[in-house]
């Protein structure tokens, strides 16, 4: 029974428990319920991925209405992969959340916080599961609206401004997406992705379709913080509560990447991409993004902001992978989606631990804290090595595939950009290492203690995962490869 309704349960469980959480009387019980929900989702997502790794597809008809009239949940390897990342990060964030949230959020608001968190989870999981473009838009709005609320709950007053800016930008992005969906709906009369794909093929030359596609791409590009549409991101990540920084940094842009892949290659096609300037735009903006965002990261004076800029750079790598529009490129992009979630999850957890103890993530408050908080700082160090792409870490695997994908098409400039990005990453990582380990401790950092185990354990789980997935690539690369092939890439031009 569960197996038949797996795809739906993954979305419906957090959706139903979110309002329940909101009315729970105290913080602990809200946390406990959320914990149970996230781990259930993780188990379901893990189950789901085992069913589709061989390339099969689960099709679930919502309410018994058959597609293309009803909403269809259509799970292939890529959907299951993204759902696994989202629920996995949520599940590992929750044990970390207990202390961090109690410290940063007023007690009476904690049930609401967890309720919003679950809604955000619903949105992200829903995006991953659905096979219907309008349904996808609805889930995108659910996740976005709840994340505005979550960011606004940050301790500083500036988090309100950050959330407001994000709201404006996010709404514009969503509106663009909706306009695009509207245009292609007007052309085809259907909203089911599979159906759209088939019906669009004969009319791919229509100007309306092209315009709709442009709106969709730009709208999603805003959501995934494609350079230069990234300006909302650093503030949103910096001023959000630590837990939300972890969760959003590890999942939100990744889900946007998924939407991009699904819309661009699944609904339209790689042939269409190559006919339009899309692939060039991705390569151009991706290359600029890698270099500009990495260079900007070097000049940051705040650990969270620094890693936020590095996130933009990493997303730009992924965009480069999409822009190559080959099986290898998309595989690299998907592998990096997974690996980057691991790195940034660990890094923002460590930042949260610093904030937990020191109340700030600004450089001037962190001098030489590595001696007092060795576990936290070594975690930052290892995850940063992964960020650079040192062999033996997960980051190396993704960089390796990016370089291979670039070389496959003989795009030397792209390969060079990828390596240059790594070099710049060495630059900003060195700044952090120097700050944490080499500077003499100041008064505030000389007496501080190590972060509590409740924060350290999830953080180190992710750090170890960074190393583990640097050696064992069975899950990541195989699933990503299957997913890339199922997008129909490489069928027309080999």
């Amino acid at each position: 029974m569960i197996e038949q309704n797996l795809s739906l349960l993954l979305v419906i469980i957090p959706l139903l428990s979110a309002p329940v959480t909101a009315i729970l009387p105290n913080a602990r019980s809200a946390w406990l319920l959320t914990l149970a929900v996230t781990w259930t989702c993780l188990i379901l997502a893990g189950w789901q991925i085992t069913l589709v790794t061989d390339g099969s597809i689960i099709s679930y008809e919502l309410g018994g209405w058959s597609p293309p009239w009803g909403i269809e949940y259509r799970i292939d390897a890529m959907n299951a992969f993204v759902a696994l990342i989202v629920s996995g990060i949520a599940a590992i964030t929750l044990p970390y959340a207990l202390l961090s949230v109690e410290k940063e959020i007023p007690l009476e608001k904690i049930p609401l916080f967890y309720s919003a968190f679950q809604l955000c989870l619903v949105g992200l999981l829903g995006i991953a599961q659905t096979g219907d473009v309008f349904n996808l838009f609805v889930f995108l709005e659910i996740s976005s609206l709840s994340s505005y609320a979550l960011i606004a709950m940050g301790e500083q007053r500036r988090s309100l401004t950050a959330a407001y800016q994000y709201l404006i930008m996010g709404t514009i992005g969503a509106t663009f997406l909706l306009i695009g969906i509207g245009l292609i709906y007007a052309e085809t009369g259907t909203l089911n992705m599979l159906d759209l794909n088939q019906r669009l093929q004969p009319i791919l030359d229509h100007r309306t379709v092209h315009t709709g596609f442009a709106f969709i791409v730009v709208g999603i590009a805003l959501k995934l913080a494609l350079f230069p549409l990234h300006l909302w991101l650093p503030n949103a990540y910096k001023y959000a509560p630590s837990v939300i920084s972890v969760f959003l940094a590890a999942t939100a842009t990744k889900v946007a990447v998924y939407i991009m892949l699904r819309m661009v290659f699944g609904v339209f096609s790689d042939e269409f991409v190559r006919k339009t300037p899309t692939d060039h735009m991705f390569l151009l903006l991706g290359a600029f993004g890698v270099i500009m965002a990495s260079a900007t990261a070097i000049y940051q004076r705040d650990v969270k902001r620094l890693f936020a800029y590095s996130s933009i750079a990493q997303v730009s790598y992924i965009v480069l992978g999409i822009g190559l529009s080959s099986v290898l490129g998309v595989t690299a992009a998907l592998v990096h989606v997974f690996n980057h979630a691991l790195m940034k999850g660990a890094l923002f957890m460590a930042c949260g631990a610093l904030v937990y103890r020191l109340g700030s993530s600004r450089f001037e408050n962190l001098n030489g804290v590595g001696r007092q908080m060795p576990w936290t700082c070594v975690a930052i160090f290892i995850a940063s090595l992964s960020l650079i792409g040192i062999p033996g870490t997960a980051g190396f695997i993704s960089k390796w595939y990016f370089v291979l994908a670039a070389l496959e098409q003989e795009s030397w400039p792209i390969a060079l950009v990828i390596l240059l990005g790594s070099l710049l990453a060495v630059g900003y990582v060195w700044k952090i290492v120097e700050l944490l380990f080499l500077r003499p401790a100041s008064d505030s950092t000389a007496t501080v203690g190590e972060a509590p185990a409740a924060l350290l354990v999830p953080m180190w789980l992710l750090v170890i995962a960074n190393i583990y997935f640097g050696f064992n690539t069975e899950l990541t690369v195989n699933v990503a490869d299957t997913a890339a092939r199922m997008l129909g890439l490489g069928m027309n031009h080999e």
């Binding site: 800016q165 404006i168 930008m169 514009i172 663009f176 092209h210 315009t211 442009a214 709106f215 791409v217 730009v218 590009a221 805003l222 230069p228 549409l229 300006l231 909302w232 503030n235 006919k275 339009t276 300037p277 899309t278 060039h280 735009m281 903006l285 062999p391 033996g392 695997i397 390796w400 370089v403 291979l404 070389l407 496959e408 390596l419 050696f471 690539t473 690369v477």
Partner: protein, 566 residues
């Protein structure tokens, strides 16, 4: 059985981790156990032809691939590591000990690597682990030159990786075997090896960093980094003709710098490059005899160069300085060290019955066999130079010369033991070369002790000694003074910083002018804007939302335009 496929780097890495937590005697024991057990394992269990691979992604990382070439380097690395560990037993600096074990292990990893990616990983680990041996001196100079060293070594690794990737892309294979100079990948890898092997103009990291390392650190450094590069060249580029010329230049130019250099460890660093030159020549010739000569020379060179670095390290440890101008007369306080140093000096000078003689002569003989007569003369000149600066200058200024009045103790026991082992091996190889020849990778009939050969070598030695004595007598020998001699390092230590400084200033000026102009124009534009009716909407407000919406418009507009043109 699994034990014979245990990669040789593993015991060292495990010991390094154990040494990190152990202290005192236990730590010493762990450190000694690594080369002893590892060496026994290699000698007894491991035979040529073993391949251990670890699958990762769709590749197989070949962690261990044994043949006679890699095995002989494996043996000497174990012996050298054993000697160097004994030599460093007295230090209490755990970080230095741990990194030296990691370093030795990485060198073994590189030597037994069967594919280019594994080689690259150990290549970089070699750089990362060794830099701590330089930084461990904890002086400002050491930290700076260590950083320069690291930068150069890491870029060598980058070149190697780039070459490996291109090679994989072109040939579909990552196997580490004959590479050859063809194509971009061959050149990049050649350059990567060349940096580590201290090719002329790429050599500065060596003379810059080695003299700054700690006494025992310099011993480790003299053994592993460059010899790993020699191994890599011998495997990847045997018979590449340009190497003969590169090697010939390497044997000659350091002589001049070594003669004027005051820091005796830097003299040894120059002489290290000179000796590498012989090996590079041998690789370039590429015949079985020449390659055997290279391997044999690497083998004996590791021992006597380590011995010389150890004796100089002992002086530095006891007297606190290693400047030729400040030393002298130390044979009175350190007679045993002096004697052992002379054994090393005899070996490097290729005195008959010492190890240098039996190995270097193979390369020279191979050179004549292949008809490179002029280059043979060059190498002969270089041999005389070696006698002069390493064979005579180092022990003379270190232990004899004018008495400087320094009175100190004999070197610590562990240093003496280490030096004695190395010295004994130097003599043993010199007297019984057949044992060394039996280890060499190729079957060659060669016997160094022929009358003509011995006589001509003696002539050369005596003549070089005569020159030294004569120059010294007449006061023509370059005086030993406190000075920093820099050669082509001038490029990046003086010229480039100066140039960069100017460029930076120019960029600043341009930036300032542009911003001032831009600001002025934008101010004027804003003023005229405010006068219009649109001004009420404060369009100039510069918070991100505004500029982001602007960018959205730009991108959407540009995209649609491009699409329309497409």
């Amino acid at each position: 059985m699994w034990i014979d496929s245990l990669p040789p780097f593993a015991p060292f890495y495990i010991a390094a981790l154990l040494a990190l937590i152990a202290r005192g005697r236990l730590q010493s024991l762990v450190m000694l156990a690594a080369p002893v057990l590892g060496g026994l394992h290699l000698w007894l269990d491991v035979s040529p032809g073993i391949v251990t691979a670890m699958p990762i992604m769709e590749y197989e990382l070949v962690l261990m691939r044994t043949d006679r070439l890699s095995l002989v380097f494996g043996y000497i690395f174990h012996i050298a590591a054993f000697v160097a560990v004994i030599y460093s037993l007295h230090t209490r600096d755990t970080s230095q000990k741990v990194s030296s074990l990691f370093y030795a292990g990485s060198a073994l990893g590189a030597v037994f690597a069967g594919d280019l990616i594994t080689l690259f990983i150990f290549w970089e680990l070699l750089a990362l682990s060794s830099v701590f041996l330089i930084w461990a001196s904890r002086t400002e100079r050491a930290i700076r030159s260590g950083t320069r060293y690291l930068l150069i070594q890491v870029s060598s690794g980058m070149l190697l990786l780039a070459g490996a990737l291109i090679r994989y892309h072109q040939t579909g294979s990552l196997e580490f075997d004959f590479i050859g100079l063809e194509g971009l990948s061959g050149l990049l890898i050649f350059l990567a090896f060349g940096i580590k092997c201290a090719f002329p103009l790429l050599h500065n990291w060596l003379t810059d960093a080695y003299p700054e390392a700690t006494p025992s650190g310099a011993v480790f450094l003299s053994v592993f980094t460059t010899k790993t590069a020699v191994y890599a060249l011998a495997r990847g580029y045997p018979g590449t003709e340009i190497l003969i010329y590169i090697g010939a230049v390497m044997t000659c130019f350091p002589i001049f710098f070594a003669v004027i250099e005051n820091d005796l460890r830097r003299v040894l660093a120059y002489s290290l490059i000179n000796q590498l030159g012989f090996m590079v020549c041998g690789i370039g010739i590429g015949t079985a005899l020449a390659l055997n000569g290279t391997v044999a020379h690497a083998f004996s060179h590791i021992l006597y160069k380590a011995l010389l670095f150890m004796s100089m390290g002992a002086i530095l440890y006891r007297a606190g300085t290693i400047k030729a101008s400040d030393l002298g007369g130390l044979y009175k306080s350190m007679p045993k060290t002096a004697a052992l140093c002379i054994v090393g000096a005899c070996s490097i000078s290729a005195f008959p019955l010492f190890s240098g003689f039996v190995s270097k002569s193979m390369i020279l003989a191979a050179m004549l066999e292949e008809g490179h007569d002029y280059l043979w003369l060059v190498l002969l000149f270089a041999s005389a130079g070696v006698v002069h600066h390493a064979g005579i200058k180092v022990p003379y200024f270190g232990f004899f010369a004018k008495d400087s009045g320094i009175r100190t103790q004999e070197a610590p026991l562990n240093m003496l033991v280490a030096m004695s082992i190395a010295a004994a091996l130097c003599i043993f190889i010199g007297v019984q070369p057949l044992y060394l020849y039996a280890l060499l990778p190729w079957e060659v009939e060669y016997w160094p002790y022929e009358m003509t050969h011995v006589l001509s070598q003696m002539q050369l030695l005596l003549f070089a000694a005569l020159a030294f004595g004569w120059l010294n007598k007449l006061g023509l020998h370059p005086p030993e003074i406190h000075a920093v001699n820099i050669d082509v390092e001038w490029l990046y230590r003086k010229l480039i910083p100066k140039f960069a400084h100017h460029a930076y200033e120019a960029a600043q000026r341009i930036y300032r002018t542009t911003t001032v102009t831009l600001r002025r124009t934008s101010n004027e534009a804003e003023k005229s804007m405010i006068k219009t009716s649109l001004g009420r909407f404060s369009l100039a407000a510069s918070w991100p939302t505004g500029s982001m919406v602007f960018w959205i418009a730009v991108i959407l507009g540009a995209y649609l335009l491009a699409d329309a043109i497409h």
